[in-house]
Structure formats: C-alpha cells, structure tokens
Amino acid sequence: MTGAPADTRAPGRPRLSWDVALRLGLLGIVIVLAIVFTIAAPGFLSSQNLENNERQMAVIGILAIGETFVIITAGIDLSVGSMLGFCGILMALALSHGIAIPVALVAVLAIAALLGFFNGVLIDTAALPPFIVTLGMLGILRGFTQIFGNGQQIGFGNSAFTDFAADNFLGVPKLFWVLVVIALGAAFVLHLTRRGRHVFAIGSNLEGARRAGINVRAMTFLVYAISGLLAGIAGLLLTARQAQGDPNAGTGYELDAIAAAVLGGASLFGARGSILGTFLGVLLVQILTNGLNLLNFDPQVARIVEGALLIAFVYIDHWRKRRLATA
C-alpha cells in the first residue's frame, strides 16, 4: 500500500549536526590557537618545536585512543598513566639486562594487555565500578614502578631503541607515525566493524546489549586490554624518547588522556566518541600546553586550563543528555 518511498533525507537531524558542530568547533579552536601562538610565540612553527610536539602528541594520543574505547563503553581507565610508567620501567630494566628488543617489547606489551584484561575481569566479573578498579590499579602499578626502579631513573645503553624515537620518516618523527597507524587501526575497528559497534552498544544500553546477544563480558575484557596495551606502547615510546626508564613517567597523564577524549566528543555517559575527535582533542591539549609554555607561562597553567576545559565539556555533555531526556 505504501506509495512513494519515504523521504529518507528529511531535514532536521539534530543529533548529527550536534556532533558535526562539536567536531568543527574543536577544529576551529585548534586553528585559532595555532594562529594565535604562531603570531605571539616566534618559535611555535619552528621544525624543532613541531617535531617535539609530534613526539609528545604520539605518547598522549596513543593513551587517549585506548581511553576512548573505554569511555565509549561508559567506563573509565584511570590506570593508563601508571601503566605507561610501569611498562617504561620494565622495558628499561629488560634492556639494561641485555634482553633483545623484540623479546622485551613483546613481553612488556603482553604484560600491559594482561593487566588491562585483569581490570576488565574485576569490572565485569566482580562487578566493581571501573573508577575504583582502575584507581586501585593506578596506585598498585605506580608503587611497583617505584620499587622496580628503586625510585631512580634507569639507563640502558641501547641505541637502536632510542634511535627509533629520534628518527624521522618522510620528515615526520617515527613516533608520530606510530600514532597515525594506531589511530587508523582504532578508527577502523571502532567505526567499521561489528565489535566496534558492540563497544557503542554496551555504552548505550548494557542490559539491552546483553539481551541482544552481544558478549558483553568478552567485549569488556577486550576494551580494557586494548587500553592497557596502548598505554604500554605509549610507555615504550616515552622510554625510547627519554633514553631512560623514569619511575615518575606518566604521572597525571590520565588527565591528558581523559581530557583529550572528552574534548574530542567522547561522553562519560557512554556510546559517544570517535577516534578523529580524540585526535583533535589531543591536538588541542598539545598545542595549548606547548603554546603557553612558549609564552613563558608557568607549565602548570596549561594543566589548570586543561582541567577546567574537561569539567566544562562534561557539564555541556550532561546538559545535552538531560535536555534530550526531557525532550
């Protein structure tokens, strides 16, 4: 009985335009900040400064990508900074004992993924809040990091490892290429595959996802394992870059990772977020930190701004969610 097919491109898709507006707004802020810093801080566009930014961005960006997976399930991973430091120290210790790079690399990353997996087990199987589980893990891993490192930096004379962090490929630091590859892979999994869709479904309606036959348990394990693994990779990259294991490395980085994801449109209520958005969020955090630094602000000012932005964005998200609920 239906005559003409329904108009599928009806105007007024408010939610989509909101997301696009948010993404464009973020891009706009990034561009404006870049212009401001280019004018105000002469060194901003120097190749050395750009490369430094790209290297630092690689570390934060990889953390933030893992965090994005977790946040989309309506979870949180506070242990990424400690995981980064822990894996850095393990790698430095392994290399200083003469263990070959591939062996050490695989072993450390396996440990990182396993610890992340364990977070997932506590969250799903023991039904503990992600906030508490990963906060506990934050303390545990930092404690072990300090003990293993004996509270000191650990040097290792392995130039092949540190060269990787110093080298460029096509004029761009190899570290940044690692971020690009991981971001593309993550975007593929999250936005194009069935498992990626299930990550969103879990964040949108956990019980509904379960009833729809989605293996919520396995997906929770997987998501936290991914976050752990990526934090481990970030730890290796930072250790290579600093040419030593630092037991304090990654302290407070969970703020950067969470802020970047949230500024990029990830919702702490779940089911919202994208790799592109997170990438822009990381870019914003990095430019802000670097620009204020070049303008001779106290380095802590950037953290103050970052923290304030995080709270503001979560507030906006909360407001959006409430408005929707009453609509």
Partner: protein
C-alpha cells in the same frame, strides 16, 4: 468470531507447566498455546504468573515440570538465546534498544550484517545493506519515521516502541512475545503501536501480548488467556466477552467454571 484454530497446530504451546520459587507456586499445571495468525493476550492481576510464563516461553526460566512444543514438537530452551534461535523473539517492557544508535543499528543489534569477502573476514559491517533492509522492513510494516538515520533517542516513545516491535518481527520467524508494549505511552502513541501489532499478525507472525491495559487487549487481541494465582482460569474472546467478565475472572469474583467459551481440549 468462532475460532477455526482448534484444528490448527499451535505454533508454540506449553503443556502442564509448573514452576515454584521456594514455597511460592508461580505456575500450576498451565497450558498455553498460540496459533498461526492470532494475537493471544495473557491477562491477569499482578502475581498471576504472566511474567513467569513469559520467561519460560522466552527461555529465561526453565519450568519445573511440563513441556514446550513448537508446531507439535517438544523443545526446551536453555537460554534466551536458544529461544531466539528457535524463532521466538521477545520485546521487553523496558525497551531493550540502544538509544544512541540509529534505527538500522538497533534493528541489527548483536546481529549486524557483515560485508562479503576479505572485509567480512575483518568483521566489517555492511552498513548500506543494513540500512536498506531496515528501511524496507519498516515500510512493509507501515512504521513511519522521518529517517532511519535518526538516533533512536530522537524518536517519540511510540516510534521507539515501533522500532523495538519491528526488530522482534524482523528476527522472530515464528512467534513474537510483547511484554507491556503500550506501557508508558500516550493514547495516540499506543494506538500507533497497537496498529503495528495487528499488522504484525496480518503479516503472518503470531503475537503473544502481555498487558495490564484491558482496553488495549480488547482492541488488539483475538483471544485472551486469563491467569489467576498461577493457574489458567479461562479463555475469553474480545469479540464476545466484556471487560467486566475479564475483570471478574482475573480477580476471582467469577469462578473458573463460567468462562465465556471453552475451546481447549488439552
């Protein structure tokens, strides 16, 4: 209307089902059946055993005694998934939709189509295929929404329920169970959903309807099975029974003997 279904084989039937929770008898020697092409409603007061029976039919609970039959063949469901795989879909009261996903995302939730070839092996979804099939399916059921690309949380309550019902019909090859589909809906939205339920029946999928709302039941159902205190106390036909009769049976003011019509022969 005089039921012609006495001769037909029930698509889904329960025979002599009992279920206890500790000392509480939730269901006692219950028979249940849904025939092709009908909407059968389960009615009864709170605690009558409707939910328990539904949970048994949908694989969430297993009965202590008794058997389930699909088209005359004994079946047993170890899990909701087993029931779904057997062709029984359930629409739960509290909307098991993912509000942040769009309509195809919900229709295919947990059963997303995969691309063919290498991309399929990489778990890549066939977004275009799902969208086209979702759109065709909603059109065939006469569900009107502006665009299937809308996130479900931008739809009205009735539209959302329509999407949930459409999803169950999409996958429910044999029977669709709907638990309070019109609860929390406005009059207009309820009418929308009741109309859809009838179209589901007309499209060939029998429906088991659970509702507290007698006017809705009388409007949509072809047959009503009345439960009271875990027992089946009668079968009524909206075409011939009154709501007063239904209420009397549900509350026990009228004995189980005075059913308006008894067609069941076990």
């Amino acid at each position: 209307m005089e039921p012609a279904q006495t001769a037909a084989v029930a698509v889904l039937a329960a025979r002599d089902i009992s279920k206890r929770f500790g000392n509480v008898v939730a269901l006692q020697n219950i028979d249940f059946e849904v025939y092709p092409g009908e909407i059968v409603a389960l009615i009864g007061d709170n605690g009558a055993g409707k939910s328990t029976l539904i949970k048994i039919l949908s694989g969430t609970l297993s009965p202590d005694t008794g058997t389930l039959l699909m088209r005359g063949k004994p079946v047993s469901f170890a899990s909701p998934r087993a029931a779904r795989e057997a062709g029984i879909e359930t629409v739960y009261q509290d909307l098991a939709l993912a509000p942040d996903l769009d309509v195809p995302g919900n229709l295919f939730l947990g059963r997303e189509l995969r691309r063919t070839g290498l991309l399929g092996m990489l778990d890549v979804m066939d977004a275009r295929g799902m969208r086209a099939r979702a759109q065709a399916h909603l059109e065939s059921l006469g569900v009107k929404i502006k665009s299937v690309d809308q996130r479900v949380d931008t739809l009205s309550g009735g539209q959302r329920q329509s999407v949930a019902v459409s999803r169950s019909v999409f996958w429910g090859r044999d029977v669709v169970i709907m638990d309070e589909p019109t609860a929390a809906l406005s009059v207009a939205q309820s009418a929308l959903v009741l109309g859809l339920i009838k179209r589901v029946r007309d499209s060939g999928t029998p429906v088991v309807l659970i509702s507290h709302n007698l006017p809705h039941v009388f409007e949509a159902a072809d047959r009503m099975i009345v439960l009271r205190h875990g027992s089946r106390v009668g079968t009524l036909y909206p075409a011939s029974a009154t709501m007063e009769q239904a209420v009397s049976l549900m509350t026990g003011a009228l004995g189980a003997v005075t059913e308006s019509r008894e067609v069941e022969d076990g």
